[in-house]
Subunit: 335 residues, 2 copies
Amino acid sequence: MGTESREVRLASRPQGAPRAENFELVTVEAPEPGPDEVLVRNLWMSVDPYMRGRMNEGRSYVPPFEIGKALEGSAVGRVEASRAAALPVGTYVMSFLGWREAFVAPASRLQVVDVSEVPAAAYLGVLGIPGLTAWLGLFKIAGLKAGETVFVSGGAGAVGSVACQLARLHGCRVVASASSAEKLEYLRDELKVDYAFSYLDGEPLEHLKKAAPAGIHVYFDNTGGPQLEAALYALRDFGRVALCGGISNYNTPGPGPRNLTVAIGKRLRLEGFIVSDHLKELPAFLAEAVPALKAGKLVSRVTVVEGLDAAPGALMDLLHTGAGNIGKMVVKLGE
Amino acid sequence: MGTESREVRLASRPQGAPRAENFELVTVEAPEPGPDEVLVRNLWMSVDPYMRGRMNEGRSYVPPFEIGKALEGSAVGRVEASRAAALPVGTYVMSFLGWREAFVAPASRLQVVDVSEVPAAAYLGVLGIPGLTAWLGLFKIAGLKAGETVFVSGGAGAVGSVACQLARLHGCRVVASASSAEKLEYLRDELKVDYAFSYLDGEPLEHLKKAAPAGIHVYFDNTGGPQLEAALYALRDFGRVALCGGISNYNTPGPGPRNLTVAIGKRLRLEGFIVSDHLKELPAFLAEAVPALKAGKLVSRVTVVEGLDAAPGALMDLLHTGAGNIGKMVVKLGE
């Protein structure tokens, strides 16, 4: 006698922006846990831009989602039935096992999280993969140093908002871009960035010149497109670019930066990275981030949509530049 | 009573491709050498693509040439009069003191070169700044390792031809592009590259797929433009790009690579560099390259133009993609 669970499956592969018909909601039955397995009920589920890439067919850095199977994303849930001694009922766990309400899995595929002093949803955002991504990009890829100036595009997004905060905590000057007045307010008032601008309001390069007349040392690129081009002009000699996301090109490819040649004379380094190569760094990151969150030096802000049925729409919003979320977009499935 | 010397000066700054009117030939008198100075008569003088950048006004990684002053480039000459004990008459020296026939300089600004077993002109090419540039780009910037596959655009040029050879000596598979049938023959027959193609003959990406079906590990970029775009597609995961030159964009900026986003998923690293940051590596490079040249494992090929008056035309040719030289372009001023 199993447990009923709904899941979101990929119905078909999108051409361009995903549409509702590319998803389907299906009810299945989760079995009883076997030896060393547990039954988990998800409470929070993550919606991430990189999922768009996995909706395409063909080789990528992660395997594509399969048609007729549940999409995959991070989730935080609670153990409801257990045949694994290490994970008693009530334990909170993080997993990457699909957009579904409940599931059975071996204990070895789950990561225990401590929610005694921090909200569980933070493990999908500031303390989760987005936070780790921001930390890696700034410090491991771009080698950001105290006193430097960094520009973060998509600064109000899941990764960008953590990047802005970690850079400030590290003693850096932070310039950030976003699209809406609400996001700019968030960047200025809550994240305390030094200069925030809308990339839709005038030329990004003019803002960068005003924000950092002597140039920027590091560009944390969440967007690609015209902001990357502006950043290449604004970077100082020996500047570094962490290539983290290209939302502007996820649905359709756009023109490339016409000024990449400046990377020669300025000795710039541009480096792409993906967080899944560096998951072993999670403990080192959490050792910095958990105390900072508890001490109120990091802000955990989530945009919440309710219920599994709302997940596809949330992903479509997230990919539609200009609309979308502030902080991390999460789906709430239970208490 | 000085020594008569002609020099090539910048008469005006070019818009787009340089024209004859941007240069002027002027006769001056070099003074007698003072204490610790020598009089040098140049025998060979270098013509390099990067000189185009210095013809522009404004900030760059090297100061612009000044209007009314001699252009600067590498030269090899012989001491004709000496008041410096370390540089007796007859010593061969390398210098960066201008496109001129003779000059007086402090001994400290000259680099002695050994021409006993190698031709003096090699110090402007395979043993000089172009050779050092190739070595730095392959090994220090791109971290090329034995057994890897490297693509060198502009493979028949001064830097490219050394890069092709050093990579082969290092046990790598070498793919190279050039523009003319003559250059392709040179790449295949003399430099022994594994696959040579004309970037004007079909799509560069199709050639790269044929030459390296499993992808390339390193791209040594001498051109920018469409070949950079093709290389980004052809690079394997964790591939590296040494951004060395962008001849296709020196005179006029072109479109950028539309696919830079692939650098994220493939974790590519693109890094610009300029040789003048690394001149201290010259001895380490020469320790490898001089024995290789003496042993016949490196080919030193130069395209020679005769006489100072021919230098501006040689530079214009070099910048006119499709025409130009094989190997290093040098101006012969004397025996």
